[in-house]
Symmetry: D2
Subunit: 236 residues, 4 copies
């Protein structure tokens, strides 16, 4: 594991943007997954103008790694957030965005493997150790791409509803690449910033590997980079 500690959120974002951009500069198809959430907001602000209208990046394909479907909406929460934060400002063509949804999820792993697998994934780290839709109690290490019931754990319904405009929009399940699917990616990058993430970062690096803290398993990946700001690293 490569551990990178930067001074602050801006520096962390700059380094994550540099790493993500550089992986795109290849003379072949590149398949990547990028995270929604609040952590990468600045990463995408830095990246978007460097990606927009660059035909030499037409080799890059984006595979969503989780999705919360919304009743009555064509687009789920993850896709909506990625559109706002990155796909729209970076003007990524729709043909190069591969959604994960109710129609596609059962064949998504096969689709990914048929184009050579995922090359790169940018992940966040939740307070509770979650990443993608791998919340405690939601998935197990051996899962590939799965649906998770909206009632899988006592607080799941509440957590999902927080993402919605109205509670009636709650779908029966959400979708996620599970730990096994994520670990199959050639390179993983995890970002985390702020004092409030410091306990999760400490647990990630020093705790046992267990389904109850889902991200713990990612430290077994042979090509992993963890990028923190000083606050997130303050308990190490």
């Amino acid at each position: 594991m490569k551990l990178i500690i930067e001074k602050d959120y801006e520096a962390m974002s700059q380094t994550a943007a540099t790493l993500t951009l550089a992986r795109m500069y290849q003379n072949r198809r590149v398949n990547i997954s990028i995270t929604a959430g609040s952590t990468p907001k600045r990463v995408y602000e830095i990246m978007a103008p460097q990606v927009k209208d660059k035909s030499y990046l037409d080799n890059v394909y984006y595979y969503n790694f989780d999705e919360i479907p919304v009743k009555g909406e064509k687009v789920g929460i993850t896709m909506r957030d990625l559109n706002t934060m990155y796909f729209t400002p970076a003007a990524i063509s729709r043909e190069r965005i591969v959604p994960l949804n109710e129609q596609t999820y059962t064949t998504q792993m096969e689709r990914i493997r048929s184009v050579g697998g995922l090359d790169f994934m940018l992940l966040g780290l939740g307070f509770d150790g979650h990443y993608c839709g791998n919340l405690p109690g939601a998935t197990h290490f051996e899962d590939e791409i799965v649906t998770v019931s909206s009632y899988a754990t006592p607080d799941m319904e509440k957590r999902l509803i927080k993402n919605l405009d109205r509670p009636e929009q709650l779908f029966d399940f959400y979708l996620t690449m599970g730990p096994k699917a994520v670990m199959e990616t050639k390179e993983l990058v995890i970002i985390a910033n702020g004092k409030r993430k410091a306990p999760a970062v400490k647990e990630f690096l020093t705790g046992t590997i267990r389904n109850e803290f889902p991200a713990s398993v990612l430290k077994l990946h042979p090509n992993l980079t963890l990028i923190l700001d000083e606050e997130a690293a303050s308990l190490l």
Copy 2:
């Protein structure tokens, strides 16, 4: 994961030997770990004459991944068995064999990382899901290189003594690369043959990932090949 099923033990051994040999043919230092045990016996018989006296393979370094020390002996069980099966018939120079023992184990990971990490590891699969010295109850997924007490589990003493000439030779502990250290290797190959291994193979491929079946975690490695004969694959 790449799954290769060969007709019989001979064909499985031939394919494993081909893969292991080919990883050595590089124009740079190559660091590998190879397993003792009965499964690879024929692999090494095939490899030895193709390696012996080949100065173009002087780029290959061998790192032992476990060791059972023996009281009153300079050399442990793993090294003794590898000497007999491979290092001696292949005439590998001692400067290119890096032992794991009581003197070296605390600094072994650092030593491995300083030369670029392990490139390749050939592993067996035990009936109980063990690999290297990762027996059920002996290690945890987050372990790097550790000592395991000879009394760590109820049957550990008995299992270790079976490897010794006389019970008095039993040492207080044995040594092994733990799951985290093994997963850091760039490429893993697991071999298994025979009907008696079929249940372990099935459990490996379809069971949950848990410390109680240590090898289960290896299926999370992004560059893993499993080579079986038809008997070992008979329950799939």
Copy 3:
């Protein structure tokens, strides 16, 4: 460059077969090119039974790198020879063999690049420094895939006719991947055996890089292995 010198033709062939086979054992599509000619005859004899009926090698695609069309025949000299030596005994499915011919050559590079490029190429070395159809006077270093006139050099017509049953079968041109296309391959392996090849081997390794000795440019490839028997290496 990795230089491997083996005792004799059999050992050279065994090592080349090992290297070629091992490159196929991947959990993704693998694109390779293999040479016709007399040098690899034994390589293919060793490989064929290890490849035949192995469904786990369905990930391997073969791209012919040169072709001598024959008037009145559907199949050129290279394809005919590869069929006899390897594709037929190894029972390679036609869907995984991509021919180079009058219909395909203008779009072949594009086709190769769209599947990630060639991973591996097994080449012979001619007495005159030729490889593929890159004969002295036929191609230049900057050529990708080209046609070469059957009258390009004073002795070209004679050389081509030697491959035919009857002189009337001579086509106006033959086809070849040029030096630039070959160099784009991720890994190159050159084999040569026998005393008669010793001068070409010496020239390859110690001579200047020039179009007049076409193979000379291949020593600039960053991932090249040269496998010789002792006779071919006897002038080094």
Copy 4:
């Protein structure tokens, strides 16, 4: 080859800095060579603050690829310029800078190979097709690391003296990695900007491969990226 055309010098520099920085973010030793000259000035201004005092970049080693020694000075022109532009503002420790000079050049290739070879090289492109010290008439494609006489070509003396404060400082020779040594690098990046470079860029991409235009051979590298601004690309 990957061709990247950016709007202007600033954008070209940003992309080259991103690519160079990202290659450094590895969990292993990384060996790179970077060019002096005027083209990369802005690249290094962008990089320096992102590299300075970053202990996580202690894995990066710098190997100079050419040097013009100066009579009476301890440090040659290339090292002086790289110090000014990058090594000093980025505060690179001297233990991680490997100079090329009269004392080291005969063993430099061996030194580079013993640490796994060069991973990355950032190159400029001269009006006359030169790169590193590979000027027309100075080196040949098969050269590894060589000395070039200060009188090797009619205008060499004049060109070298332009770099010096006083003509008396002219040394008998300068040093350079030759084409063969450069091509052994795993990844090459060439940058060029401005209208005045447009003819050289066109010649590089469309001309024949010949010693008289030294950079022509670099287009045979299987992992090459060319980064231009629109002016440098204006004749394509």
